[in-house]
């Protein structure tokens, strides 16, 4: 495993008006690891993930990206066009990502291929569509925000397989989760956040016995 991080947050802070969502934070995402961001609601996990994804600018600090690193981001809320069908959404984002034909992804993730609008799909299907969009660029780093929250057990297993595939190929996975199963099946490192501060950063096994886990449970 290379020690050079694929993504690195350096002194990243994020404020929304007077509210500080994320205190000054340093975090490395290295190749071959799956990092779980855990913590209670409002701890700053999704904010940190969005900043790592480049979807949100930090108020202070920077995010360093290794040369040529591609990342895929799946936010917690659906982030696609509700009036377009899943195929049309994938074709649009494939065009923007300069990716190839998305038909294979459409089939692999078992997304509806008819002309129904994406807004009419179930929450789980919309979540899978977002996952498909995040995979379009064949990313080195996969950033997932509560990815299994609305998935059935079978789809959950498929998602874990996908995440492990990215990690095992020398990439990295960062996932925000409240689900202990995600830790068990995907993560090998945990960063716990509380009120915008990283209060724990270590291996999953260490986390289970840490004070942070007890405080957050």
């Amino acid at each position: 495993m290379s020690s050079r991080p694929l993504l690195a947050a350096r002194g990243v802070t994020r404020r929304f008006g007077d509210h500080v969502a994320l205190q000054r934070t340093d975090l490395d995402v290295r190749p071959g690891e799956a990092l779980a961001l855990v913590g209670p609601n409002g701890a700053g996990k999704s904010t940190l993930l969005a900043i790592l994804a480049g979807a949100l600018e930090p108020s202070e600090g920077t995010v360093e990206r290794a040369d040529g690193v591609r990342s895929g981001w799946m936010p917690q809320r659906p982030a696609h066009y509700g009036r377009l069908s899943p195929r049309q959404n994938l074709e649009l984002f494939a065009g923007l990502e300069r990716a190839g034909d998305p038909a294979e992804l459409l089939a692999r993730l078992e997304l509806p291929t008819d002309d129904r609008s994406s807004a009419s799909l179930s929450v789980g299907n919309r979540q899978r569509l977002d996952l498909a969009i995040s995979l379009l660029s064949d990313p080195h780093v996969l950033l997932l925000d509560e990815p299994t929250a609305a998935l059935d057990p079978r789809q959950r297993r498929r998602l874990w397989e996908t995440a492990r595939g990215v990690r095992d190929a020398g990439g990295a996975v960062v996932l925000v989760t409240q689900n202990l199963e995600d830790l068990e099946h995907v993560a090998d490192r945990v960063a716990a956040l509380l009120e915008g501060n990283v209060v724990f950063d270590g291996a999953v096994a260490e986390y289970r016995t840490s004070e942070a886990a007890g405080a957050l449970s």
């Binding site: 480049g54 979807a55 936010p75 982030a79 696609h80 066009y81 377009l84 649009l92 984002f93 065009g95």
Partner: protein
């Protein structure tokens, strides 16, 4: 520039998949244009004027030997007002409540003065204040002028009859007295029977001169009564419904509504759909996003503008309207549509970035569009401030561009000026939208 094109194509696809929304977006501005047209037509409707007859004018009145049907006469000359007969009390009450715009009163003694011709009979006009009062006053002056013209003709014809009596002799009636005269012709015949003498020859010469002079009197009286005559040629102008101005306003209103609502709504919708986060991750620049929304406004404006121009042209051709449709000018108008669409789209993009939500953007769009359109309709001569404010928005410049491009014989000066305005406004509002669009990504 592939990214803005993909976003534009996506927005057009979203529109195509939202037929109800598209129908409303197209129908709404057309309905507004129609309502404005009807309002303008109403502004030209006949004002209601009360007619109070305190003298009891008979239905048929004989003046200067000519008989007038009073009701027909009033209907005939009151082309621009609706005359309603009523009592003085009713008229006063309706004037006070604004149900009539003015009251014309025929005072007692009017008919006697008219018949006597000793002094001019008077009518009294009472009006409200402000609003259409100046127009009603003008129309009533026109009505009195028309009545005077009819009476004048009657008096002239009566005078000419007296002249004819003097020339040819016969029976007549003046101020209730009947008379019979031999006239100049009879005098000439009588002189012919008399013996020649210097006195007879002088009388004979006078009779010849008088006959010659009086023969020209009729036309001379008519000419001096109406030194200038206005001849009206019917049906030479284009009906107002199909006028250049209506076409220009219809186009400009439609483009303003559509461009502003579409660009603003579509930009704010990127945030509503939570897609903006994906786009700003290096897929689409914020400036490119503004360009895509302006391009959306331009594309829709061009499609709808062309449809309106063709539809209008077909109506003009089918109706065989004077002047026809200037088909060869349509490419020039479409350049104006493109510029206006860009300027309006830039305003819409700014609204979208400030509103941040598509529903708010649509509401703000409507709230902005209506005053902008109505300000553009206020004549500069009446409220100069309205014209200055209106200059800061694309609507009025689009109207001037379209009207000039369609029908001015040499439109280039106006087109150059309005092009500069539209390009400038597009740049200013587009720049502001670019500065403000960061708000969507937060």
């Amino acid at each position: 520039m592939k990214a803005p094109w993909l976003i534009l194509r996506k927005d057009l696809l979203v529109l195509r998949r939202s037929p109800a929304l598209l129908a409303v977006l197209i129908a709404y501005p057309l309905v507004i244009a129609l309502l404005i047209g009807l309002t303008a037509a109403y502004a030209n409707a006949k004002p209601r004027v009360a007619f109070v007859d305190l003298d009891g004018i008979p239905h048929r009145l004989t003046v200067a030997g000519q008989s007038f049907d009073i009701d027909n006469l009033i209907d005939d000359v009151a082309k621009n007002v609706e005359i309603v007969r009523m009592s003085k009390e009713q008229a006063d009450r309706q004037l006070a409540s604004g149900r009539v715009a003015a009251v014309v009163t025929v005072p007692q003694g009017f008919v006697a003065d008219l018949r006597g011709l000793v002094s001019s009979p008077h009518l009294t006009l009472a009006t409200g204040s402000g609003g259409i009062t100046p127009r009603v006053r003008q129309q009533m002056q026109a009505l009195v002028y028309n009545l005077n013209l009819r009476l004048q003709k009657a008096f002239i014809e009566a005078d000419i009859k007296y002249v004819d009596l003097l020339r040819h002799g016969g029976k007549g009636r003046v101020l209730g007295h009947d008379f019979s005269i031999i006239g100049l012709d009879g005098t000439k015949r009588l002189l012919a029977t008399m013996p020649d003498s210097p006195q007879k020859r002088k009388i004979d010469e006078f009779v010849d001169d008088a006959r010659l002079a009086l023969a020209l009197t009729g036309n001379a009286i008519r000419a001096t009564a109406s030194p200038i005559v206005l001849d009206e040629e019917k049906g030479r102008g284009r009906t107002s419904l199909l006028s250049a101005q209506v076409q220009a306003y219809g186009l400009a209103i439609t483009i303003t509504f559509l461009g502003l609502l579409l660009a603003g709504g579509a930009l704010a919708a990127e945030r509503d759909e939570n897609a903006i986060g994906r786009l700003v991750r290096g897929l689409v620049g914020l400036g490119q996003l503004v360009v895509a929304k302006v391009a959306l406004a331009v594309t829709v404006a061009l499609c709808l503008g062309l449809a309106i121009l063709v539809g209008f042209g077909i109506a003009v051709q089918a109706g065989n309207v004077e002047g026809g449709e200037p088909w060869q000018r349509i490419p020039l108008v479409l350049i104006g549509v493109l510029l206006a669409g860009a300027a309006v789209g830039a305003v819409g993009a700014l609204v979208g970035t400030l509103a941040r939500e598509s529903r708010t953007a649509s509401l703000v769009g409507v709230l902005v569009v209506l005053p902008v359109v109505f300000l553009g309709l206020v004549p500069k001569e009446i409220v100069p401030a309205a014209a200055w404010i209106s200059d800061a928005f694309p609507f009025v410049h689009a109207v001037r561009f379209f009207a000039s491009a369609l029908y001015d014989s040499s439109p280039w000066k106006t087109i150059a000026r309005e092009t500069a305005w539209l390009v400038g406004l597009a740049a200013v509002y587009g720049g502001l939208a670019r500065l403000s669009v960061r708000r969507l990504a937060v």
